[in-house]
């Protein structure tokens, strides 16, 4: 990725994150989260991870953000937060991340830095030929494109086939859980208020 684009998009991502933490209104926070996620998606694309970048936009900046906004509107939470913040918490929220960053910088200093190598697309094509015949992946590689989705899909349905099915079950369980949690009139959710 070009350095200038990297700095631009990482600045967007970090600025969005800072706005997410500092703005008081939840709707503004949600919008700055979207800005941050779009910056992150651009960083993914810069790392030749096109599929992950697209998924980041679709799932995070699309679906998850809409869900957050929807819940904020549903609960009518546009009121500002109470202004007082416990000073101990404020100190902790500066100190713990600062400690984390110090540790990270220490690790980065003690390890070797790497520059990205250009991807050997045309020479890699030979690895994806089946019995000497061209496949879609090898054709794209010879054409100078990185068939990101094909490569990921091949991994997903061969080596990661079982985890994929487990994740499918997880999504089903989550769906059932959400339906049963948000069923109206269940005594379980109403009772604690009376006690």
């Amino acid at each position: 990725m070009h350095s200038l684009a990297f700095y631009l998009f990482s600045a967007i991502a970090v600025a969005g994150a800072v706005c997410l933490v500092t703005f008081r209104s939840p709707v503004t926070s949600a919008m700055s989260m979207v800005v941050s996620f779009l910056g992150l998606a651009a960083l993914f694309v810069g790392l030749n991870a096109f599929f992950v970048g697209v998924i980041q936009v679709l799932v995070y900046a699309g679906a998850i953000m809409v869900l957050f906004i929807f819940i904020i509107m549903l609960l009518d939470l546009n009121s500002e937060e109470r202004s007082k913040t416990c000073p101990a918490l404020l100190v902790a929220s500066l100190l713990i991340p600062a400690l984390f960053m110090c540790q990270l910088l220490g690790v980065l200093q003690s390890t070797e830095n790497e520059s990205p190598k250009a991807l050997p697309l045309t020479t890699a094509a030979a690895h994806f030929e089946l019995d000497g015949k061209e496949t879609k992946i090898s054709q794209s590689l010879k054409g100078g494109d990185l068939p990101d989705v094909h490569l990921l899909g091949e991994k997903l349905f061969t080596r990661y086939n079982f985890p994929l099915q487990v994740v499918g079950v997880l999504l089903l369980v989550a769906t059932i859980g959400v339906v049963s949690l948000s069923k109206k009139g269940s005594d379980r959710t109403a009772k604690p208020a009376d006690q």
Binding site: M1, S3, A13, V14, A17, V21, P26, S29, M33, S36, L40, F44, G46, L47, A49, F51, V52, Q56, V59, Y60, A63, I64, L67, F68, I71, I72, L75, E81, R82, T85, L89, A92, S93, I96, P97, F100, M101, L104, L105, L108, N113, E114, P116, L119, P120, A124, L146, Y160, P163, V167, L170, A174, T175, G177, V178, L181, T189, K191, P192, A193
Partner: protein, 107 residues
């Protein structure tokens, strides 16, 4: 070209900002958003390593890292759905989403 350390630094910075938000914010929905931010920051680390630590056989990015990101995003989506349903149920029961008012589980 941006180097590996620059990507790791940005990712760590995003994670630290998310962590600060989780600690300091009182609105449980914003805390939840900051959690999502931390997950995404970790994803950036995984993708950066996938690009820089290329597959020795082919020289292409190591797609095992990006598979991990795929699963993290899937689990995060499920987590958001369940978490927001819990928040709605909580709001129905207590009429609040301020974490300071939700101290029942405190010992």
């Amino acid at each position: 070209m941006a180097t590996l350390h620059e990507y790791l630094f940005v990712s760590g910075l995003l994670f630290a900002i998310g962590l600060a938000g989780v600690i300091v914010r009182r609105n449980i929905i914003v805390v939840f958003m900051c959690l999502e931010m931390m997950l995404s920051a970790a994803n950036l680390t995984l993708v950066a390593f996938s690009r820089f630590h290329t597959d020795p056989a082919t020289g292409l990015p190591d797609y095992n890292g990006q598979m991990m990101v795929f699963f993290v995003i899937t689990v995060a989506a499920a987590e958001v759905a369940v978490g927001l349903a819990i928040i709605v149920a909580l709001y129905r029961a207590r009429q609040t989403i301020n974490v300071e008012d939700l101290t029942t589980m405190r010992g």
